[in-house]
Structures are given as C-alpha cells and as structure tokens.
C-alpha cells in the first residue's frame, strides 16, 4: 500500500471514530428508552433536531457557543421528553389495540409533528452555525515535520467527540452508582421484579424518556458546529439511532457505544471507498447483516465471551 493510500485509510478511520462517538450518544438515548419502555422511539432524531434548533437560536440571538447551549438544551429536552411520555406514550400503553406496534406508530406521529412545526417556524432553509473554530484543525505535520503522511484532526469534531465521551461517562456513572440509575437498570431488566422491590416503575418510565431525550438533545448541540441544520434533519438520525440500538443488542448500553463506533467507522469507509451517496446504504447493510447473523447484537457477543471464561 502506498503512503497516499494509507493516509486516506487512516484519515477515514479517524473521522469514522469521531462520528461514531457522536452516534453512540444518539444510540444511547434510544437504547435507554428501549430498555425501560420496550418501545423504539421513532421521534428520537426529531428530538435531536429540536436540540439543534435550541442551540442554533441561542447562537443566532446571543452568540452563545453551541457547546455551552448543552446546559440549556439538556433540561429543555428532558422536560419535553417527560411531557411526551406522560401525556402521549403512557395513555397509549393502556389502550387495548389490535396492534401492539401502536406505540411505535405513535412516536412516528410525534416525529412528524415536530419536524413539520420546525418547517413552519424556520422554513426549509439549510442553516450552518458559523462558529469561528469551524475550520480549525490540527495537522500531523505540525507535530512531526518529517511525517511521510499527512493526517488532520478537525477541532470541532474532536471537541464534540470529547464531549460525547464525557457525557457517556457521566451517564455510566449515573446508571451504575446512583440509586436512581440502579432503579432504572432494574426496571429495564425485569419490570415486575423491580416493582416488587419498591421501584416506582411509572416514574422510572417518565424519567427515562426524559433522560433519553436529554441525551439526544445534547447530541444535537454537539452536531450543530459540524453539520447542516434543516427541519427534516432528524429523520436520518432516528434511523441511525435504531440501527445502533439493534446493533448494540436492544437495551445494552455498552453494546450501543460499540455499535455507534462500528457504524461510524463503517459509514466513513463506505463514503470514502464506495461514494458519498452510498454511506446511508452502508448503515443499513450493517443493520441487515446484524439482523441475520447476530440477532442479539454486540451485547450477545459480549455475553458469549463472558460465559466462555
């Protein structure tokens, strides 16, 4: 392999990992909701879109940095999620319908409304957020003059990635170390047992939906400096989110993180070696392969290894 080829490959892998870290955050929100509620939230990407517009407006009006907007978007999205769960999803859980997929269809309806409201308010224009560090990057040749290959690390991508890692770590701490987090995990594992242990399952559901929404709202803020914003931007992230959820193995948080990374790298490789337009196909090819060959996702592979020991 020539140096140029290696350069392209390494650069592709780097962007893939950075993208994957952000994907993982999107996937985590959906995975947590999936774990506790046993439903796939198909309005997930639209909630992220809301987070993006919040950060965008703060930037446009007060020139607040998108990374700082996380502090606003997270509580806002949390309450939006809580409200959606309390007033829309919960009532549907109690309705006796022929198709239990009603709940999933409901979230599609919610997503449609959110995306369309955004179109009405903001028009269908593509917007970018001109942060002054948008094109800043670190180069390998700056560090190592004689490097045979050139690699770059985009500043906003790297910062977003680090934020995603930080938030993921905080989430892990919350789920494994706090009482609330433990109750959530108990509810996800066995609702009835958790109820017997005195966990208020209803409250956990509401809280979890809020938490999942807050996570994806944060992801929205992180995507803003590096991505276009338009009202329908959420749809593709909804799809990304559920692909990761399946890839990770339904409700497994570690699985979702690994799944996000795999997907990011895979999409990046497809975009480089097959063509930009094909990247989304790569996403679904991974999805289909997982469905057919590893129905339990990454989590089942991890579990198998543990039993092997």
């Amino acid at each position: 392999m020539s140096a140029a080829k290696i350069e392209v490959l390494l650069q592709t892998l780097i962007s893939g990992l950075l993208l994957g870290g952000l994907y993982a955050l999107i996937g985590l929100g959906m995975t947590i909701i999936m774990g506790v509620m046993k439903i796939i939230n198909l309005a997930h990407g639209e909630l992220m879109m809301v987070g993006m517009y919040v950060a965008y407006l703060l930037f446009a009006w007060a020139h607040i940095d998108p990374y700082l907007s996380i502090l606003v978007a997270v509580p806002l999205l949390f309450f939006l999620g809580v409200a959606l769960q309390k007033y829309l999803v919960n009532p549907v859980l109690k309705v006796d319908a022929i198709l239990p997929e009603n709940q999933v269809i409901l979230t599609v309806g919610i997503g449609m409304v959110l995306a369309n409201l955004a179109t009405i308010i903001f028009k269908s224009d593509y917007r970018t957020t001109p942060v002054d560090y948008a094109t800043k990057a670190w180069y390998l040749t700056d560090l190592w003059k004689d490097s045979p290959i050139e690699l770059s690390l985009s500043f906003p991508w790297t910062v977003s990635f680090l934020f995603a890692v930080g938030i993921t770590a905080a989430l892990w701490f919350f789920l494994s170390r706090t009482d609330m987090g433990k109750s959530i995990r108990a509810t996800a594992q066995d609702k009835d047992a958790a109820m017997l242990m005195g966990v208020n399952v209803e409250r956990m559901r509401v809280f979890t939906f809020g938490l999942g929404s807050a996570l994806v709202g944060a992801a929205g803020c992180l995507f803003l400096p590096i991505y276009y914003l338009y009202p329908d931007v959420g749809g593709q992230f909804t799809l990304t989110g559920f692909v990761i959820t399946i890839l990770g193995g339904l409700g497994s948080t570690v699985g979702a993180i690994i799944g996000g990374l795999i997907l990011g790298v895979f999409e990046s490789l497809t975009a480089t070696y097959v063509g930009m337009g094909w990247a989304p196909v790569g996403r679904f090819v991974v999805f289909m392969l997982v469905l057919v060959f590893v129905p339990g996702g990454v989590a089942s592979l991890l579990r198998r290894r543990r039993f092997g020991k």
């Binding site: 239990p100 269809i105 599609v108 309806g109 449609m112 337009g277 989304p280 196909v281």
Partner: protein, 317 residues
Amino acid sequence: MTYRKPLLILALLAVLPLIRAVPGVNANYWLHNFILVVMWTIIGMSWNLLSGYCGQVSFGHAAFFGIGAYTSGLLYVKFGLSAWWGMLASIPVVGAAALLIGFVCLRLRGPFFALATIAVGVILRIVAENLTGFTGGDMGIMIRERTWVEKTWYYYIILALAAGTFWFVDRIIASKLGYYFVAIREDQDAAESLGIDTTRYKTIALVLSAVLCGFAGAFYTNYMGYIDPKVVFALHDISVMAIMVVMVGGVATRWGPVLGAVIMILMAEIIRTIPKVGTAHHTLFGVLLIVVIIFLPNGVVGDAAKLRRLLRPGRSA
C-alpha cells in the same frame, strides 16, 4: 360474506365520472382526487392484509409501491414497452422482491420487523437515487407517451383493480389463510404449536400484500407519467400514509382501508388548498394519528359504536 353492499357501492362509484356533466365543476380536479382515493384504498387493503390481519406491521410499503412503479417505468425506458405492461410484470418482480425481503425481515418479531421494513424502504430509495445508470437517479423517469389525456379511463382501471383487490382480500380472510394470518397476529407461539408454519404463512401474507401494493405503484407510473425515488419510495408520504389510512379507517376491518383512504385523501386535499395551513399538513396528519391511536385505536370502522356515543351528546346539546 354478502356482496350486496360492496356491489352497491361499486355501482355508485362507477357513475362518479358523470361529474363531467355537472356544469361549473372542475371535473378533472375531482376525478384526480377520486383516482387517488381509490389507489390509496388498494394500498390500504394491501397494508391491512399483512399488518392488520397478520399483525406484521410494515413501515416499508413504499418499497413495494416503488418497485411496482419502477418496474413499469423501466420497462418503458429500457425496453420501449408500454408502461401498462408494468402492471403484469410487477407481479413476479414485486413478488420476488417480497420473498427476498421476507427472508431477512420475517425472522424478526413485532416492532423489530417494523424497523427492518423501514430500513428496506430507505435502502431502496437510496439505491434508486444512486444507480443513476439504471434508474436515472434523482432525475426520475418520464413516460412521454400518455395513453389518455382524459382521466375517466384511469379512474375505471383503478376502480376495477380496487374492486378486484377488495374481493380478493375478502376471500383470503374467509379462508384457511385468513384464519392462520389472524392466529399469527394474536399469538405466534400458540399458532406455531397448533401446527401453523408461521414463517411460511407470514411470507405468504407479505408476498400477497406486496404484489397488491406493487399494482398500485405500477398504476401510479402510468397515471402520473413521472416517478422519482423521493416520491415513490417516500417514508412519510407512502409508507406512513399507508399506515395512517388503515389506522384511521380501522385495522383489520373490511371497510377500514376504504373509509381511511377517503378521509385521508380528502383531508390532505382540503388542507393543501387552505392558504398558510398547507405547509402544516404533516402536523395535522401527525396530530390526527396521535388522536386516533389514543382515542380510536380501532379506527373509524372498528370504533364506530364508540364514535356514535361520543357524537350523540354533542348533537343534543
């Protein structure tokens, strides 16, 4: 089942083109809407067969609609055949595609099947957009020689197709297949242990449903004269619309798709024509969907008694 009511309704629908004779009415405009309603009835019945009766909720009926549409379009562009041949050719093409899709997706149960079908719909759209050499990509396909300028014949063709579909679904539901489909929806484990090869019958439901939806797609190419990937493989405007037509009308009911198509298409048209409100049509659809799911989970037909109860106090007040 008795066919008196369906035949009566068919007779009524058959005289609708007489609207031309009414002075002061834009007959073409109305016929266009009638055609869309009838076409959506077919798509609704197709979705109802797989998802309503057999319980395999599809979020990807655009895949079958689009394959049907492209079969027609490609026959015309690549082989110079009349796009009408697409109606016939779509049967094996859509059927084969459904077999393949079913082989992968039907391993999954419940919401995961639904997710897989979304993926299928999106994959096909992206493939159609990117295989520019084969499909013409985003440029779409234009049928230059239109069979009729006037809409009456299109109306009768789609009406005949809808009547056939109605009869066909009716027969299926009353047969062993219908019983097996509902058994699978109600409890897959029970069905399996009662001797039903659930994979096989789910595949049958999928293929039948797909072929019916593919017909509608092939017709669409002929009628509209233009297709592109964003339109025929649309997630919201085809796949979700199919769900809405049946959810609003009534899941697993005979008349649900018909009523649902009437309500949805007319509503879409009314919303579209009101200035300013037009852009909000997805919001209104979404709200309608949410309201139906919460308050009328069995649709207008399934919850007819409930609806009547709700409306009565309103009338007396």
